[in-house]
């Protein structure tokens, strides 16, 4: 293995990280948004209401 091989392996690792992170961000992000926006809203003053 020479220096060119090490360089090409490092470049490949960089491409790999991008190809792995992109779908994960898109899928997990959209799932989080789905859950966030479809969850029932809590009343803003629920704690105060409970005190009274």
């Amino acid at each position: 293995m020479d220096r060119d091989d090490v360089n090409v392996l490092l470049k490949k690792a960089g491409v790999n990280i991008l190809i792995i992170l992109f779908p994960l961000v898109m899928i997990v992000g959209s799932l989080w948004l789905t859950r966030h926006f479809l969850s029932p809203r809590q009343p803003a003053n629920i704690t105060e209401g409970a005190k009274r």
């Binding site: 490949k12 491409v15 779908p23 899928i27 959209s30």
Partner: protein, 356 residues
């Protein structure tokens, strides 16, 4: 160095389409929740519970599940491989060196490389965010399958495509294309570095950690069946093209899944005959990625020659372990100081070698 504006525009377009594709099944699921009023993260069964309920409703016994989980892929490859051998579909190409590449890469990739990569991805997840384990377990089983089908296969499409289109990545993938034959025996023929980097394996491992494990089993099984069905030397799709009455089925199948004719074209030794097309048809399970991104080539015909036109039987160890082990074939892309990408040579040159 300034990038070509045309290329930049295409990259931006493809990136946007890819982002939409990844989100599409999640968006469809959200619409279903809005329509049905379901909120499975509050009151629904976990994906594991849904999967177990499905298995018990189908009356599938534990021993069948154990077989499917452990041995079915090897069994399928051996059965298809025996049929291909009986009918002499490998010709005289399958010599000792090719056998070593095919068998060793299957055994190493399936039993060492992919398990190690998956385990490493899971360990990294546990180290980075242990509290997120199983946090997506609320996703209904079949929606999980849809999300993973896209997450797994679209990622592999891009991983595969980039290894063809970026010249400096080609040598990692070359082993899969060097065989001069098609068949179940070479379906899992890969270099070890290429296999370890399978981006879809890492994506699926992370999604499994997050709770999509049951769906991942179904998706992986579906992919494996299509991979073998598209690599096999048995041209089972020919009747679909020959009989007019079957053309609607052929059209539907070839616009959805990877069919043998389409994938054989991808493994062709040349693109000059109008049939072979190693510059496209990059999909693994679904073909609509190729149709969407403009890399599809459908002819319903089979190429005359497979492999790499300048292949000279690089030793099995260099094909499996490049760049750690180099080929001793002078001028090979895998040799020390060899070209990053060699030009095609006339096929007569290679055919003469097999006639000797």
């Amino acid at each position: 160095m300034k990038a070509d504006p045309d290329v930049l525009r295409k990259v931006r377009r493809d990136l946007s389409i890819t982002a939409v594709m990844y989100v599409l099944p999640v968006f469809a699921m959200a619409m279903w929740f809005l329509y049905s009023g379901q909120r499975p993260w509050i009151d629904g069964p976990t994906q594991m519970q849904s999967a177990l309920n499905l298995l018990s409703s189908l009356h599938i016994s534990g021993s069948v599940i154990s077989f499917l989980a452990n041995h079915w892929l090897t069994t399928l490859i051996i059965v298809v491989g025996i049929i291909e051998t009986i009918f002499g579909l490998y010709g005289n190409y399958w010599d000792h060196n090719e056998k070593a590449v095919d068998v060793l890469s299957y055994v190493l990739v399936q039993s060492v490389i992919i398990p190690v990569a998956s385990l490493l991805a899971l360990k990294l997840c546990i180290l980075a965010a242990p509290h997120l384990a199983g946090s997506l377990g609320w996703i209904p089983f079949w929606w999980g399958v849809a999300i993973l089908c896209v997450g797994d296969d679209l990622t592999q499409y891009w991983y595969h495509r980039l290894h063809h289109q970026l010249p400096w990545l080609w040598r990692f993938h070359r082993t899969h294309h060097s065989s001069s034959y098609m068949g179940a025996n070479m379906a899992y023929r890969q270099g070890m570095v290429y296999a370890f980097g399978f981006a879809n394996v890492w994506v699926v491992a992370v999604l499994t950690f997050l709770g999509l494990g049951p769906a991942a089993i179904v998706t992986s099984a579906a992919k494996a069946i299509v991979v073998i069905a598209s690599h096999t030397a048995i041209r089972w799709d020919l009747p679909l093209y020959r009989h007019r009455i079957l053309h609607p089925i052929a059209w539907l199948l070839e616009h959805t899944f990877i069919m043998p004719a389409v994938h054989h074209a991808h493994h062709a030794a040349t693109t000059d005959d109008g049939i072979g097309y190693y510059k496209g048809n990059f999909g693994n399970l679904f073909f609509f990625w190729d149709l969407t991104f403009g890399t599809a080539h459908i002819t319903r015909q089979y190429p005359a020659h497979y492999g790499v036109s300048h292949y000279e039987n690089d030793p099995w160890h260099s094909q499996l372990l490049w760049p750690f082990v180099k080929s001793n074939v002078p001028g090979s892309e895998l040799s020390q100081g060899g070209p990053v990408l060699r030009d095609d040579v006339p096929l007569e040159h290679r055919m003469a070698r097999y006639r000797r």
